[in-house]
């Protein structure tokens, strides 16, 4: 806690990086029609990087002691594990989904999805 000045600088730099990251994701968004898969991976990676910045610097985890692992490792595993465990059942529709009107309409719908304008 000796060097407050340098902390201030670190914070500023982190803030700058976060802004750049945000800008990058906004730019990536423009290309999502072209290659949705790549864009998805890219923006999620950016989000992880941003989260890391916030946690390490703003939340001081970089300077904390061992307890951070003990607290955060299990939490992260559980938090990521839960959606993953839901995937085979819910995400992938293991059994046959009963076709409904909605699903049938959705079929036609997708082809004409880009109908709208950008306003809101």
């Amino acid at each position: 806690m000796a060097d407050h000045e340098s902390h201030d600088k670190i914070y500023l730099r982190v803030f700058g990086a976060l802004c750049v990251f945000t800008l990058l994701s906004a730019i990536a968004d423009l290309f999502k029609e072209a290659s949705p898969g790549v864009v998805g991976v890219v923006v999620l990676a950016i989000a992880v990087a941003k989260a890391a910045c916030v946690m390490l610097f703003f939340m001081h985890l970089k300077w904390e002691r061992g307890w951070k692992y003990v607290l955060l490792a299990p939490t992260t595993i559980l938090a990521i594990g839960l959606p993953i465990a839901l995937m085979p059942d819910i995400g992938w529709n293991y059994y046959h989904k009963v076709p409904t009107e909605t699903m049938i309409e959705a079929e036609h719908h997708n082809s004409s999805a880009a109908a709208g304008d950008q306003d809101h």
């Binding site: 061992g66 559980l78 465990a85 085979p88 293991y94 409904t100």
Partner: protein, 647 residues
Amino acid sequence: MNTTDTLNPSSGPAHDLHHHNPSFIKKYIFSTDHKMIGVQFLITTLIMMLLGGALALGIRWQLAWPWENMPIFGIKFAGEGGQISPEFYTMLFTMHATVMIFLVVIPILAGAFGNFLIPLMIGADDMAFPTLNMLSYWFMWPAIFFFGLSFYFGGAASGWTSYPLLSALPEAAPGSGHAQNMWLIAVTFVGVSSMMGSVNYMTTIINMRAPGMTLFRMPLTIWSMFITAILQAFALPVLTAAGFMMLFDRAALGGAFEGIHTSFFIPSGIVVNNADPTVGGGQALLWQHLFWFYSHPAVYIMLLPAMGMVSDMLATMCRKPIFGYKPMAYSLAAIAGLGFIVWGHHMFTSGMNPALGMTFMVSTIMIALPSAIKTFNWIGTIWGGKIRFNTVTLHCIAFVSQFVVGGLSGIFMAAVPVDIYIHDTYFIVAHFHYVLFGSTLFGIFGAIQFWFPKMFGRMMNERLGKIHFFLTFVGFNGTFFPMHLLGVAGMPRRYADPYIHPYLEHLMPMNQFITICALIMGLAQLILIYNWVSSIFWGPKCGPNPWNANGVEWSAPSPPPHGNFEVIPTVYRGPYEYSSPLVQGRDFLMQTELLPPPEPDEPDDPDVPAGSAGPAEQDAPNDSPEDPATGTDGEPGEASETAAEES
């Protein structure tokens, strides 16, 4: 370090022993004293147990003598001539389970005993956040209030598991529209209450231990409370989220919000009770995953503290160190860890992905391993002891033996193919009553008797205690053991009248037998209540340590004053040094006792590193190179290293 938060009134200086005399209301009602809060929890939950039991007797009445007028309660509840209607039956078992789980077992373990014991056993003057602690009690009351409203509106009627769509579409269970909403709100309040409790317990156990109370000198009760708190903190938010989703699914708003409701669990095209087809696109199965992600850890929340308390009681009553202290602590952690990855075993037949089912099956079966270790270690603890056959001991032995039955029946269900057959039959009902009542409640009964002197400064009556134990044990086994057979005979759960199915007709006499046993068991609980209440006023007075036990709590006066200890005690050894050769003429050696200096290095104690008994080292825990609690979060590997270095 204890930085005082000027903006946070709940974390005052930790060692302020100057307490003035509080007013009646501050002392007995809005008390922030952990002991009073514990007692408040205890009284509340015992009353709730009577209520839950009364509902159970209603269930039993219907199963033994279907559609006959129910005595006493019938007139109160059931409307037409005291007969139980099928709707009412559904509501009976839903509310029975709800009351027993959310208002009895969970709050009695964490709320009553957790509150009362944690600060006393670790040698703290109170919880880390007394106000938060008080709030966690008072958040129970909105929960009770909303459960009460749920009764009033006809009772939630989709089982305590509340599977959609029965629970998500108000039309599916006519008459329980508001009741189900109230039920969900109440569960949310229970969740908030538990969450407040659990973060408080964790902070207290990590940061408020008395000097010298290293992790591996903590009594197993504290270990179990700690691990329970972890389970609660990380599993419960998922249920809270799911509960909100279901509440929003059910939302029936008016005005500008007319027709707005979410559809997380509601698929499209469902026609219930001739209502319009639903539009939704949700997945009903999702609820089951989210629900069991909490509720399986919850069954261990309902067991682990009892396990810990039984360990302490058994060691005391057998005058023996606990057999395998560290394996006991590790297996607690292992049960908790594995407990997070087995929830799918409740859904084997629900149409889950078979590969997932296989994974869940293997993890479920493996969870028997830490349980087995614990069982064997309890037996090892009794082995070679000088057993005192008092009520406490009897309850502990009952705990162990009933847990074995309940656990072993769990193995049948963990085997998926067998579960295909016995799922949702009375085999399941038998299983969970053996673990919930047979283990947890026997453990609780023992703990009530064991810590009663500390709570009230008086002893409970032994003779009444033994009668209560005998009747409960016999009645319990008479009630629930035959249910295994009912299950194998294929009798499904939650049936208001099984006998309309020809293959179940011949089971009626057995059900009548069960009901009679349940009545005996129910009446026996009145003995407990009588014993408890009368002993508060007329029990023989006792000193600080009536059982000659070792724990820190027994060095405080009975009942302990506000602030617990005259001076914060220093801890010199683990809690299980019974029959230690270091002392002559008595068979206990308290954690807080400082033995005279010529003492050798306590070679017999494997857990305490040599030379740790001296007060000099104890005085400077802050200088230790490692944080002692670094490894406390359910990661025993780390914990052992750091804790060993600490002192």
